[in-house]
Structures are given as structure tokens and as C-alpha cells.
Amino acid sequence: MENQILELQYAMDTFYFLVMGALVMWMAAGFSMLEAGLVRSKNTAEILTKNIGLFAIACTMYMVYGYDVMYGGDAFLSGISGQGESYSNAADFYFQVVFVATSMSIVSGAVAERMKLFAFFAFAVIFTTVIYPLEGSWTWGGASVFGLYSLSDFGFYDFAGSGIVHMAGASAALAGVLLLGARKGKYDKDGKSMPILGANLPLATLGTFILWMGWFGFNGGSVLAMASKESADAVAMVFVNTNAAAAGGVIAALLFAKVWFGKADLTMTLNGALAGLVAITAGPDTPSVLVATLIGAGGGVIVVLSIVWFDRKLRIDDPVGAISVHGVVGLFGLLVVPLTNNDATFSGQLIGALTIFAWVFISSGILWYVLKSIIGIRISKEDEDEGADISECGLEAYPEFVTK
């Protein structure tokens, strides 16, 4: 009977991982819709192809090699079996693989509307096989950073990946955007930022809601156990705090944009929701619900400032605001963890953030550079005018609707 109970615990934890993993997988749809809504219609089919393609690449490459790099498990290509210790190993893999895809999804939005599709896919192959898994091995994997130091020694704490997943994706995106340059027409001759409007805001909103829902799996699953009172309480608390932070992000971004710009800016509000979610991800387990709401609200304000700052001051063109949402707010999320969690230290968070950023930014930068030199990463001016849909995919996303 003892055994039956153990089996039940095993089954419940496995089931929990699978359900949470399915929710995280769903985030792939969220990123696709968000990005498809925020680009111009002439680049929509391409970004959809990019998103479904990168998800497939992430799932395959992480299976082939990345999982092994990150968790140093069994040998190459054979690391995944049904059996596990306290839950199925396959369920663990399933949950992990959707995280890689999430990190990679972040990149696609920032380089939208001008990057060559297959250059992006080539990047995705390396990112999901090596770049992400390596930094993942230093953090969740517990390995030391190139044998030099161990992040856990410094009190680095990143519950579900504000840094490991989100800031990492944003760092790769930043490196790419810097080498890629702004979209044609984004800045006029005086360097003034020209708005380029997203074509389909209901899609972008849908994407945000999907991400919000998927995030329950993202954070909730990161408790890594369900089948005991303690872990059940932890998962429940994480759900509540994740929701509260998203709500806080929405309210803060909405009000802040209303006061600053005079209107209730929908795209900023959507970014506020995501910022709230990113902000809480580093530590949804320790704050009270009220504090979680405030952390989310902090993210909501920061994201508005950051997007404007990147766009108008730094003149870094990020069509969907991915670098601000996932990078800047991801960092913020890491830095507020010590406020409510004694296991984390401020310096540990900083060192961790720096380590992740340095590694991902530099390695991605080199990779983008190599790709740029060999096959080129940017579509031609002519193709950009006509839209990446025609040049990369040979079709249009909304062929029947007359567009500007």
C-alpha cells in the first residue's frame, strides 16, 4: 500500500508536469499571435512561419543535444525515457523543452520585419542547442560557470526564469537587433522615431491572454512538485501571485500611459501585462499577493519607460518591445527577489544577471555576426518594401484585404 501511495504521488507529479507543460507550449501560440498582431500585414505570414518553425527547431535540437548540455544527463540523444525517480523523466523533458522554445520566441519579435527567415532559423539551431542550455546548466543545472565560479554560491535565485529564460532571450535579441539595424522608415533623416503600426490588435491581445494563461504553467510548474501539502500550497501561491503581478502590470501601464500620453494605449497595456508576468517570474513563491501586485506594477511602469527610451533615445528598433519586456523587466524581476526571499542576495542576483547577459549577448553577437558574414541576416531594401511575406514565404497573410 505504501507503494501504491508512492505511485500515486509519482503519477500526480507527472500529471502536474504534463498539464503545466501543455500550458507553456500554448505560449508558443501566444508569441505567434502577439507578434503577428504587432507587425504590418505584409510581414505577417513570415513571422508566423518563423514562430512555428522556431518552436519545432527548439523542440528538436533540445532533444538532440540541448537537454543533455543543460542537465548533463544521459548520453547524447538517449536522455529521455518514460521512467523517472519521483516523476516521469519524459514529463520533465517535456516541461523543459517548452521553456527553451519560449526563450527563443522572444528573439523573433525583436528582429521582426527585416530579418532573413533562414538566418533566423540557423541562429535558432545554435541558440537552442548550446547558448541557452549552457547558461541553463550554470543556473538550474547547477554546473559551475566554465569551471570558474558557481552562481549558487553567491545566492543567485531565479525561480522560473526572469533571467534564465526571459533576459537570456532578450540578450540574444539585443545582439541581433544591433547588428541588424532599424526597419526601413523607422527613423527619419533627423533620427526622429516614426511609428510603424501593428496591423491587428485583436490578435496581439489574444496573444497576450494566451501568454498570461500559459504563464500559470510556466511559473506554476517551476515548483517542480505538487503531490504534498507543502508543494500544493506553493503551487497555489505561485498561481495567485502570477495572476496578481500580471494584473498589477496592466493597471500600472494603463494608468501611466494615460497620464503620460493622455490616452489609454492598448499596446502599452498589453506590454504591461507581460511585464508584470516577467517581473514576478524570478520569485513568485515568496511575496504576498499584495507585494506581487506591486512587483507587477513596477514592471508595468518600467516597460513603458523602457520602450520609449529604446525607441526614441537609443534608437534601437524593437517592433514588439521584446527587449524591454523580457530584458529590462527581467532584470528588474531578478533584482527584487531579495526583498521577499532571504535565500537570494542582491549581489548574487547582479552577478547572475551579468553572467547570463554577458554569455548570451556575446555568444549570440558572434553567431549573428558569423551569419551576417556568410549568408546575410537582412532582407533587401526592395523586399522590405514589398514585405517579407512575399520574399520569404511567397504568399500574403491577408491576400484579400486591401492594405495601405
Binding site: 516614426m194 511609428p195 503600426l197 500611459a257 518591445g321
Partner: protein, 114 residues
């Protein structure tokens, strides 16, 4: 025969159409256009950046008529457009001459075809 081309506010479309059918104008072709005139475009906002939408949505009506109808048609359009008093952006009317009109179905030509 004349071709009257009126650029009007989209919200006036049904008023104008009704007014014209009362004076027995039986054919109209309407096109969605973007207009740029004295009326300044409105300002929109995207991610905190303001920008001016210079071309405003207008409706272009093309109405082929006989020479005799001209005056009445123009007056009717003007009246229907100024229902709430004249405002900037109310639009313009252009008149040009038509050499020929043909009804495809019947092959009729000239004034009967209008």
C-alpha cells in the same frame, strides 16, 4: 453629359444618397479614398509616439448625369453635406464633361444610358 465627382465625409454618405434619389439620380459609384486638404489630419498615438494621420478617410462619389440635371445635383449634394452647418473637411465637388455614356446590358448610349 457631365460627371460630377464629390469628395464627402463618410458619415454623410447615406444622407447624400437619399437626397439624390429623391431628385431621381439613379446611379452612383462610391469609392473609399483618403483625402488631404485644408482640414488637418488627426493625431494618433502608438506606443507613446504621436503621429499625424494626414490622409483622412473620405468617400468619393461619381455621378454621371445629363447637362440639365447639373445644377440641381450640385445643390442637393451641398445641402445634404451641410446638414449640420459647414465645417472644414466637408469636401469638394468637381465637374467634368462626359463624351459618352453606354449601358453595357442594353448597349444604349447617351443621356438615356445615364
Amino acid at each position: 453629359m457631365k460627371m460630377v465627382t464629390a469628395i464627402i465625409q463618410p458619415k454623410r454618405l447615406s444622407d447624400v444618397r437619399e437626397a439624390l434619389s429623391e431628385i431621381e439620380v439613379t446611379g452612383i459609384t462610391a469609392t473609399e479614398v483618403k483625402g488631404f486638404g485644408r482640414q488637418k489630419g488627426h493625431t494618433e498615438l502608438y506606443r507613446g509616439a504621436e503621429f499625424v494621420v494626414e490622409f483622412l478617410p473620405k468617400v468619393k462619389l461619381e455621378i454621371a448625369i445629363t447637362d440639365e440635371q447639373l445644377e440641381q445635383v450640385i445643390e442637393t449634394i451641398i445641402k445634404a453635406c451641410k446638414i449640420n452647418g459647414g465645417k472644414i473637411g466637408d469636401g469638394k465637388i468637381f465637374v467634368s464633361s462626359l463624351e459618352q455614356v453606354i449601358r453595357i446590358r442594353t448597349g444604349e448610349t447617351g443621356p438615356e444610358a445615364v
